[in-house]
Point group: C2
Chain length 518, copies 2
């Protein structure tokens, strides 16, 4: 057994059995180890943005750490923007990054780079392993550092000689790592929260992270029904259980003015797995903090705390455990017709989300109608970009499909956003993933036209317009899909989109629909 | 005039008049400034790897700094791997990266990231501007830090409020920046080099960087002819002037054993714009330093020195200025026929490289025959990946086409490598660039099969094989090209490739040929 095999065996025995990978020469020993150690499944992607974005999606659904294998500093760098998104989503991700042999580093070979420096801005934990004997124990440390759900990004750098060096025959693998227990909210904090809620005129819970799924969400619903208080989700969420039989939860709107108007009369905002809401960007003369005047922000449980336990305790303390939450009925929007716009796409999709489907939403300007229309769809999970770095959606779809096998994934994707990580389609085809990707082909970075005005950009001249428009040439996403082995079709009307969805929901994917916005 | 306009005007007045861009909300003021300030041409790309790789290529041909506009930390991160390549190629690149307004940073909005931390591993100079008044002077500093050719990567972070704040009416732009003079090699160094060359039995010059073009290369040829010494280029070079009428220069081979064999009898290696040769990767039981036993390495001029001046002075000191260098005759390989392999592609391409064409080579396992076959082609420039991070070739082709308008570009590209930055095709179509891309479709990371053996990976099982093969599904590059507005065709034989090249060399591009390796 060499260092690489010990590391992979350590991951496998801790339940980490899938690895998103784009390896190079310095990782060949790790590839050989994945080959030889039973139980680790490699999933190849053509670009590291797919690798790390898929890891994020996988962790969100599998509820355990995702693992990546990346090629030196530059390979890691290609994955950094989706690691940024994973970090903001509190997804546990363990990156294994190869490096030159330790003795080779001083020679400044072409691929030599400051890997730790590249890792640090997006990693909670970074370590370069010093030898073959340390590689597996360092891997165990990385597993502990990444934690369970919610979790962190941990980056382990594996020099080639640490990977290829043989270990003594009596070498013992480190002990199995279980995710460390999450911080519990204390009794005093529960009591003060109960008191604050009881004293408030118009309290609300702002839910994030693990508060948005399972029994935690139900407990939030019981508290809301029992105390007559409002619930909102954060604007961008890693996973919301929603649709019929779940809570009719409204996330805070993206536009700060609209968010502030919605909660204008709230006098107590209790943070449950969430953070104080702030504007996505700063704009001249607009507020950064989205808390109405006179509203007290009460931090109850943070995104990295044991939020389900906190909500259970709070429900208990408020005497709400026996109260029935108000649940959403199955309520589909009427069928749309004619030319497509974001609302027509949203309505059509909402009618076809299957029971236990998963919607991945990076439709950007399409997101608000997509959420509104599907609130009464069949019960499903809704997965969003959390870190704002577009190019997350298609990789997330790859990851959620692998993290929740047997469930249909519908990925709502802007055309501009899709192009950062369009290589995802190939991994969908290779792994035969059950994903329907719907491209919103408006041939524009539509959000930026809106933002250009909001930052006071003034009238757009031709050069500004050229930097926000992507219609020259217009992309042909059906051709792109075909080029990567994915079945594709084009829809120009709601009727066409409806017919395609009828068929594609029935046939296992992957599929892609280019929805042309009229 | 606001801070953004002052910055863009400062760049323009220093001769920096083209900006590769993928902006977002935090850069909208800079987009507006590019719109309003005359003289700055924006070139949009769909992914930041294209932006920074194109900047590298542009700088190599234009001989002046390239400029990029990137969106916050994650946008910069997507461009880091090609900035790594640019840094290793000593390409001067000025990155302008937007950030949140200074007062918004403390709120940890979704896109908040450690931009300086992301920039530092690939930047010689990093600064966050503090205010509108500082933005243009900081831009002038960035221009100075990037320098001329050879140059560095400089990253200027522009907070949104610095960009949008109005400047006083009497605000003066900072003085025009000229690239600082390069370090000159001193008289003592020249004398010691002359003495070393005269004392050596079998000396060689190892040429890199600016030694490989123009009069500098001719001076190297004069020295070689006068002193009867050998010339080699480094293995990977940012730009070599070669073909008929230039020097018949052989770069050091990629495989260390082969390189050492080639120069086994050399007793003096004079470094001219180059570094001591080292193995690309470490391998068990193989040397890292590629200098034969008994050979003295004599550093004469480094990659960042004024190499043309150094070579002129050395030629003078050796009395070689009047010697005629040995030049390559026009000598095309015979036409290939039948199924394609790397040699048949190389021979066919070599026959069609037009006078003053530019070859961008990221064909990886195809690179050795591509160089060998084209040594007697019509005079051309040869541009290579310098930092080893694949996904550089297609963006380089975008950049060199814009940096050397009027010259035909032929891009030799591996199928695996192409997929990291396939989005480049769209920018080629949008800007109507005269590029012929030839995809080597071997449906494999072919180099890794070779490297797997060399690192002692042993026999490949199915999981290892699956991580090195990209033929399931096989990509259809003609469809991918069509999807991004580029004319594409497939060649399965040398005759088909030849016929396509005849036509595509005549018709301005962009074009793509998927060459199926048999």
């Amino acid at each position: 057994m060499n260092g690489a095999e010990a590391l992979i065996a350590t991951l496998v025995q801790s339940g980490i059995d899938l690895c998103f990978a784009n390896p190079g020469t310095s990782e060949m020993q790790l590839v050989a180890a994945i080959d030889r150690v039973p139980g680790m499944r490699p999933v190849l992607a053509l670009d590291e943005g797919v690798v790390t974005g898929a890891a994020d999606g996988y962790a969100r659904m599998a509820g355990k750490p995702a693992c990546t294998l990346l090629h030196l500093g530059p390979g890691l760098a290609n994955g950094v923007s989706n690691l940024h998104n994973a970090r903001k989503a509190f997804s546990p991700v363990i990156n294994v990054v190869g490096d030159h042999a330790t003795y080779h580093l001083g020679f400044d070979a072409p691929l030599t780079a400051d890997i730790e420096g590249i890792a640090r801005p997006v990693s909670h934990w970074v370590k370069t392993s010093g030898s073959a004997a340390e590689l597996a124990p360092d891997g165990a440390q990385a597993i502990a550092a990444a934690g369970g759900m919610p979790g962190r990004v941990a980056t382990l750098i594996a020099p080639a000689d640490a990977a290829w060096t043989e270990l003594p025959v009596d070498y013992q693998l480190p002990a199995v790592q279980l995710p460390p227990a999450l911080p519990l909210v204390g009794a005093e904090q529960i009591a003060s929260t109960v008191a604050a809620i009881r004293a408030a005129r118009n309290p609300m819970l702002l839910l994030g992270g693990e508060a948005l799924v399972g029994e935690a969400l139900m407990n939030a619903g019981r508290i809301a029904a029992h105390c007559g208080l409002r619930l909102h989700a954060e604007t961008f969420n890693r996973r919301i259980a929603r649709g019929a039989g779940r809570l009719p939860l409204v996330p805070l709107p993206y536009r700060g003015e609209v968010a502030l108007e919605l909660i204008a009369d709230v006098d107590l905002m209790v943070l449950v797995g969430s953070k104080r809401p702030v504007a996505f960007f700063a704009y001249p003369e607009k507020p950064s903090v989205l808390v109405p005047p006179g509203c007290t922000v009460h931090p109850f449980a943070g995104p990295a705390d044991d939020v389900p336990a906190a909500l259970a305790a709070l429900a208990q303390a408020l005497g709400a455990t026996a109260t029935a939450p108000v649940l959403q009925a199955l309520q589909l929007p009427p069928a749309a017709s004619g030319r497509l716009d974001a609302t027509a796409i949203a309505a059509t999709v909402a009618r076809h989300i299957p029971e236990q489907g998963i919607v991945v939403d990076e439709s950007i300007t399409g997101s608000l109608p997509a959420q509104q229309m599907s609130i009464g769809s069949a019960p499903h999970d809704y997965v969003q970009l959390c870190g704002g770095s577009i190019g997350n959606g298609l990789p997330l779809a790859v990851g959620v499909a692998l993290g929740a096998p047997g469930r249909k994934v519908i990925c709502l994707e802007g055309d501009g956003s899709a192009m950062y990580t369009i290589q995802s389609l190939w991994t969908m085809a290779r792994e035969r993933l059950d994903v329907i990707t719907i491209i919103y082909a408006n041939r524009s970075y539509a959000i930026l036209n809106f933002e250009f005005d909001r930052v006071g950009g003034g009238a757009q001249g031709p050069k500004a317009h050229s930097m926000l428009a992507i219609g020259d040439p217009a992309m042909d996403f059906v051709a792109l899909a075909r080029g990567m082995g994915v079945n594709g079709a084009r829809a120009e009307t709601a009727e066409e989109l409806d017919a395609l969805l009828v068929q594609m929901v029935r046939e296992p994917g992957p599929h892609l629909i280019e929805a042309i916005l009229g």
